[in-house]
Amino acid sequence: MLKLSLPLRLQLSLVIVVGAALLKYHAWYCLGVYAAIALLWAWLLHVSIRHLGGLLGTELIFLSLLALPLGWERASFLLLRSLVCLVTMNSFLLTLPPHSFGIALKGLPVPAPLKENLLLAGQYMEILLSEVTRMQRSAQLRGLHGTAGWLRYASAAMIGALYLRSLDRAERVYGAMVARGYNGQLPIDSPLRPKERFAVLLACAIAATVTLTSYKI
């Protein structure tokens, strides 16, 4: 896999996606350029083709339902443009190392309060998933079965119980974080190095050129 820091990978992915999404309708040549870039990106990141295909298939079924009534030519451009964006973002997602949610989110250019909430949500996602696993195991051990009505009631109650159990753990985790000096920022600092900044600027320039060209052709 290409040795790139997570913030750089995220920002390059965003540049490709924004550039492709803003292309003018029926700018097929420019779309072809972006498609080539997206495929190159997927290859550089060593994405698992099977996983990528699975994700794209599900997304494209939904998009097809939305786009096909618009006529073949319009729908095909819309779908291909969306496909380029999906390949790019899913390539980033599928090569995201485990537990690096926070690092990836920290690289986003968003205001501090939103970033704090993003980081906390990322932290609590794992708590939530572990609680779900524990509750599922408990349900299996107790042999949860019965009429459909009872199961629906039990499921609704379990959703509420999941929220409360996770909240208790989240409050404990947050207390521990504050006790260890947490002040709304994760102690991970990964600013872009000069070379990486240059790479992002170059990518922006290329994307801007290709996208603006689509409006001139």
Binding site: L22, S82, A104, L108, V110, Y124, I127, L164, A170
Partner: protein, 307 residues
């Protein structure tokens, strides 16, 4: 309802992006207390919870499926629509950036539809319906359930309008399609929201808002009128009324066609051409708005001097 990349035009993406940025800016200002030691875990966990809930799709008729939007639920649990807006916006950012669910360039539109329209419609309707149902705290799950269902449909209408304005799909196709499916999804949303709040009210009542906020007296009748005109009109019978039935039976219904002066009526038969039942709903909302505006104007003009 997550609009993917490339489905909204640049002007629509820009306009909704600006609206969303403005809403988020106000939300930061208004929900400072949500970032304190006591509230931060609730906001963070509610965000994670809504994110997880949105991953679980429930089947909807016709081979489609839907998932919880959670705007109303978040606003009520957090006790503030501003914090609810932040929560849903965060979920949408995570989904767009890390899971390619909803486009980066459509993020403004998605935040506007789900984090602004969805949350605020749900919140205002919940407050109003609770008052209509007697104002008891025990009625909160029912009020929130209904409000959550309606908020999903309103958010879907906003989404359809954006797609139509972008030139992605004609309004006659996208509006009925989006609204029809989201009425069913709204029912699921309402049931889940009501169910979760019922459980929370029993297990941790301290999490739910206590005293209801004071509302000005005119909001209840206005919201009621709009609910009847906009939502219940969808279920109106298409059968002819009494006079039409008699006219059909006795054969004088064709006389209407012989009228010499034809006055153009844009919303004839309470419908908009090509929109089906959604047209009836929009016509009802427009009619209610015009009636309110005219009555308000007359009241202003003929107001007694000593009033």
């Amino acid at each position: 309802m997550h609009i993917p990349d490339g489905f909204v035009s640049v002007p629509v993406a820009g306009a909704t992006g600006l609206a969303s940025v403005a809403a988020l800016f106000i939300a930061f200002e208004r929900s400072q207390e949500a970032f304190g030691i006591r509230r931060a875990p609730i906001l963070g966990l509610t965000t994670a919870f809504i994110f997880a809930a949105q991953m679980i799709n429930f089947p909807v008729a016709g081979g489609t499926s839907g998932h919880l939007l959670g705007g109303t639920l978040a606003a009520i649990v957090l006790g503030s629509p501003w914090a609810g807006t932040l929560c849903i916006a965060t979920v949408l950012i995570i989904q767009a950036v890390l899971f390619a669910d909803g486009g980066i360039t459509a993020l403004g539109a998605n935040i506007f539809n789900m984090a602004v329209v969805g949350v605020w419609v749900g919140w205002i309707l919940t407050q109003t319906l609770q008052r209509l149902l007697g104002g008891f705290k025990g009625r909160l799950p029912l009020a929130a359930g209904i409000a959550a269902g309606v908020s999903v449909v309103v958010a879907a209408i906003a989404c359809a309008i954006e797609l139509a304005l972008s030139g992605t799909a004609p309004v006659a196709i996208v509006l009925p399609a989006m609204t029809g499916v989201h009425i069913l999804i709204g029912i699921g949303e309402g049931i889940i929201t009501g169910g979760v709040l019922t459980y929370l009210a029993t297990a941790r009542p301290d999490l739910l808002p206590g005293e209801q906020q004071e509302f000005r007296g005119w909001s209840v009748p206005i919201v009621t009128i709009f609910l009847i005109a906009g939502v219940l009109s969808l279920f109106a019978s298409a059968w002819p009324d009494g006079l039409e039935k008699v006219a059909e039976k006795t054969g004088f219904i064709d006389l209407a066609a012989k009228v010499r002066v034809i006055v153009p009526t844009p919303l004839a038969d309470y419908s908009i051409k090509g929109l089906g039942p959604i047209g009836t709903s929009i016509a009802g909302l427009m009619g209610a708005t015009v009636c309110f505006a005219v009555a308000f104007g007359i009241a202003k003009v003929v107001k007694p001097k000593n009033a």
